[in-house]
Symmetry: C2
Subunit: 467 residues, 2 copies
C-alpha cells in the first residue's frame, strides 16, 4: 500500500491533441473526470489517466488504439469503475478508454440461449432487456458492473456454484489488439477444438492484451421454480461444514452464501432486515417445483445435523429479491456501519475441503488483531471475502489490515488455493502471483510481450512493469 | 489428402544416440514401433517419427525435452494413438515421446471431487480406479483415450451436454515447456482470477506448447438414479427438433445422442442389438429417482410431439452399459459394415438452432454423392460426426469424400459453427482454420512462437509450418 510514483507517459500530450481533433469534447482532461476514471472502489492508491475518451463504436475503439499504438501511449479500458484491486489506475499515465456508451444489446439468440452485447452493457441492464424472453444471465458480482469489465476480470458472484463464472459463460469476443486490429475470437457453437482457446485467454486478462468491443454470452432458461432459504448457525464451523457436505453430495444448489455474525449485523442495519444475528447461510434452489422442494429438504437435513436452525424458505419473488439485494449490498453495509472509515475488499478461494480451516483461522486472526473485517462468501466454490474496514484515525490500522490480508492469502495458497477467486489481480494482488504461479509467470510474460510488445495495454497490471 | 514430403529433422541422429545412452532399450527405432506411433486412427497420411522413447516420469520427460531443445529436434507426445486428425504424425520427423507408462493415479481428493493423474492414465482406467469412491469422471470420447491426449485435444463425448468438455474439467496441469522447464499451471481451487488462464490455453493445444506430465481433473458424485432411454423417429428432422427443444427447455439431460438409420443399422449388426431401424435418440438422465423420472417424462412428451415413438427406458445398469458401449463402438461398427474400406471420421459443431439445417443438408449431400457416411452426434451441444467410409477400389471415392467434408465444414462455418467440435485440428483441419478464425490466427502464431520459438513441439500441427 506504499505510495508509488506515477510514470509520465511518453507522447501523451500529442496523443491528446490528436484525440481531440477526432473526438472533440468526447475527450476530457478535467480533473474530476480523470479522478473518476483512475480510482475504482478499492483502497489502492489511484493514479489518474492523463485524459479520458468516450468511445461509441468498435471502429472508434480501433481508431483510438491505432493512434495510441503509433505513439506508444498507454490505454486503460473503463466500464463502470467498480473493480476492486486498482485495475483502472494509470501508474504509467495514458488514456482511459471509456466504453460505457457502447451499451447496446446487439442480438438475442433465444433459441441458442446466447446474447451478443457491447462491453458497456451492465449485468442488470442485460437482465432487464431479456426479461420477456424467459432467459437470464446469472453472473452477478456485487456491483452492477459492465459485461466488458466482468469478462476482463473473470468475474463471478453468487450463482457461480451452479452456472460457472465468466470463464464458462463467454462464448466469443470481438477485440481490438494492441496493434489496432479488430478481430473475432471464438464462435457461437457450444464446443470447439479448433486451435488455442483465445477467448479464455482474454477473459481475465484485465485489459492487458487488448480492448473488448463485443461479448457473446451464454444465457439460461429461467427455472420453473426458484426457492430461497436462510439457515442460522451458532458456530461458523457448522455453517461451513453444511456447505461442504452439500457440495460433496452433489445437490445442485444455485446459490449457497455464507455471512458471519458481523456481516449479518451490518446488513440488518443497512437493509432494514431482521435476519437472526448468527452465522447465516443464504441459499437458492432452481428447478422444477418438485426438484427445488427435494433439494431444499436435503440441504435442511444436512444443516440440522450441523447445528443449523431457523430454516426459513420462500418462493416469493419479492422476498427473494430483497434478500439477494441485501447480500449484494454487504460491502456497502459494512461501509455504512463504520462511517468515515476506508473499505478494503479482498478475496481468496480454496479447495472446498480446506474452506473451514481457511475461514476459521482467518476469523481468529481478525479477532486476535482487533480488526473489523466481516466475512462473506460464495462458499460453494470455496471462495470467500473480507470486507476489511480501515480506521483513518489509527495509523496502525492500515498496516495491520494489510498484514491480515497477506496472511490470509498465504494461508489460501498453502491450502492449494488462489490469491483471488474473482476480484482479479489489478495492482493489489501482483505481489502474490509469483508465489501462486511460480515459473508459469514467465509464460504469462511471454504471452503479454508477444501480443503487446510495447506494453501499451493497461501497463503495470497483473504482472507489474515488464518491459 | 495429397501426399506431402516428410522433412528430415535436424540433429535427429545425434538425439537418438544421446537418448539411447540415457534410456537404453526404452528407445526404439524399429519400423513397427515407429509405425504404431506415427499413425493414429485417422485417414490422414502417416509420417513416422525417427524414434520412440518411453518415458516413465515427469523428470524423464523433462530430461528428454531438454535434450531435444538443445538439438532442436521435434517432439511429439503419444498417449494411446487414438486421435482422429493425424495429431501424432511426424511431418518434420523427430522423437515420439510415449507417456503411456506414466499411468498412475497420483491422488484422489474425494472431499474436493478432484483427482490428480499422470497423462498415460486412460479414461476407463480412471473410472475403474475411483469406482469405490462413488465418484466418476464423465468425459468419454469413443476410444479409451489417455487423459493427457484428451486434455491436449480438448476432447468431450456423450456427457458433455451436462458435464462440459475437457475445457471445463481440467483444473490444473503440470507441464514441461519447450525450453525444458517443469512447471505447474493452475490450482486446485474451483475458481481463480489470478492472471492469464494458462490451463485453458494448454488444453486443446495438441502438444504444440509443451508436454503435459500431470493433470488435475474434476470428478462428480455418481447420481442416485441414472435412467437411459431410446426413442425412434421416422424423420431425422423430428429427432433433431426434439433435441433442440429439450435443450431450449433447460431439461438437464446427461446425454442426448443422435444416430441416423445407417448408424443404427451398422450398430445392430456389430453390437448384436435390435434397435428400431429408424433415426434414433439415445438419452440418459441423472438425478434423484423423482428427478430422472420427471426429466424422462418431459423429454418423452417433446419427442411425441415430434413424431417420436418406441420410447423405451431402463434404469438397469447392465442394459445401460451395453447401450452406451454400442454407441461408443459406432465407428468400429461402420468399419465392420464395409470390410476392407478405409474410415475417415470428421466432426463439426454449430449453434443448436442451426443443427437441423446443418445435419439435413449434409445428409442430402451424402445421398446425392452416393457416399456411405453414417451420422452420429452429441447433438445436445450441436456437435455431430460423419463416419465416412472410403472404398479403396474406387479412385473417385476418396476425392468425393474429401469434397463432402469440405462442404460440411463450410456449411458449419457459415452457420456460426466450428470446423471441429471435439476431434481437434491435427493436420486434417488446418486448411479450415483461417476461414474460421481469420486474423485471430496471428495471435495463435504469436503465442506459439513466444512459447516455442524453435518450433520443436509437435511441429506442423494446428497452424502448419510456421517458422
Amino acid at each position: 500500500m506504499s505510495a508509488t510514483a506515477q510514470i509520465k507517459a511518453i507522447n501523451v500530450d500529442e496523443t491528446i491533441v490528436e484525440l481531440k481533433k477526432l473526438y472533440g469534447d468526447r475527450v476530457s482532461t478535467a480533473h474530476s473526470v480523470r479522478e473518476h476514471h483512475g480510482k475504482d472502489i478499492s483502497f489502492h492508491e489511484a493514479h489518474l489517466p492523463d485524459a479520458v475518451v468516450f468511445a461509441e463504436s468498435a471502429e472508434e475503439v480501433q481508431q483510438i488504439v491505432q493512434l495510441c499504438a503509433r505513439l506508444k501511449t498507454p490505454i486503460i479500458a473503463f466500464g463502470t469503475g467498480t473493480s476492486l484491486e486498482g485495475h483502472i489506475s494509470a501508474p504509467n499515465g495514458g488514456i482511459s478508454l471509456d466504453v460505457s456508451r457502447m451499451n447496446k444489446v446487439l442480438a438475442v439468440n433465444e433459441s441458442d440461449l446466447d446474447v451478443v452485447v457491447q462491453p458497456g452493457v451492465t449485468r442488470k441492464q442485460l437482465n432487464e432487456y431479456i426479461r420477456a424472453t424467459g432467459l437470464f444471465f446469472p453472473i452477478d458480482p456485487g456491483a452492477d458492473a459492465s459485461i466488458g469489465g466482468m469478462a476482463s476480470t473473470r468475474a463471478s458472484g453468487t450463482n457461480a456454484v451452479r452456472y460457472g463464472t465468466m470463464r464458462e459463460n463467454v462464448l466469443a469476443l470481438q477485440v481490438v489488439t494492441p496493434d489496432g486490429r479488430l478481430m473475432r475470437l471464438g464462435r457461437r457453437s457450444r464446443k470447439s477444438s479448433a486451435g488455442y482457446d483465445l477467448v479464455k485467454l482474454f477473459v481475465g486478462s484485465e485489459g492487458t492484451l487488448g480492448i473488448i468491443t463485443e461479448i457473446t454470452l451464454r444465457l439460461y432458461g429461467m427455472p420453473e421454480s426458484m426457492v430461497a432459504a436462510t439457515c442460522a448457525f451458532d458456530s461458523l464451523e457448522g455453517a461451513v461444514n453444511t456447505v461442504i457436505q452439500t457440495i460433496q453430495s452433489g445437490i445442485p444448489v444455485a446459490r449457497i452464501e455464507l455471512m458471519d455474525t458481523y456481516t449479518v449485523d451490518t446488513i440488518n442495519k443497512y437493509s432494514k432486515l431482521s435476519l437472526p444475528n448468527k452465522n447465516l447461510l443464504m441459499l437458492e434452489f432452481h428447478g422444477t417445483e418438485a426438484g427445488t422442494k427435494e433439494q431444499a429438504e436435503m440441504v435442511q437435513a444436512l444443516a440440522s445435523e450441523n447445528g443449523g436452525a431457523d430454516f426459513a424458505w420462500t418462493g416469493q419473488a419479492e422476498e427473494r429479491s430483497k434478500m439477494w439485494q441485501a447480500r449484494h449490498d454487504a460491502a456497502w453495509a459494512a461501509k455504512a456501519y463504520k462511517p468515515g472509515w476506508g473499505m478494503w475488499a479482498t478475496d481468496v478461494c480454496v479447495p472446498i475441503s480446506k474452506l473451514a480451516e481457511c475461514i476459521l483461522e482467518t476469523q481468529k486472526d481478525i479477532v486476535a488483531n482487533d480488526l473489523f473485517a466481516p466475512i462473506v462468501g460464495h462458499v460453494g466454490d470455496g471462495n470467500f471475502h473480507l470486507t476489511m474496514m480501515v480506521d483513518p484515525n489509527d495509523p496502525t490500522y492500515l498496516p495491520r489490515a494489510e498484514a491480515l490480508n497477506d496472511r490470509m492469502v498465504a494461508r489460501a495458497l498453502s491450502l492449494g488455493g488462489t490469491c483471488t477467486g474473482e476480484h482479479g489481480v489489478g495492482v493489489g494482488k501482483i505481489k502474490f502471483l509469483y508465489e501462486e504461479h511460480g515459473e508459469a509467470m514467465s509464460l504469462m510474460r511471454a504471452i503479454k510481450k508477444a501480443i503487446d510488445p510495447d506494453n501499451i495495454m493497461n501497463p503495470g497490471k497483473i504482472m507489474g512493469p515488464i518491459n
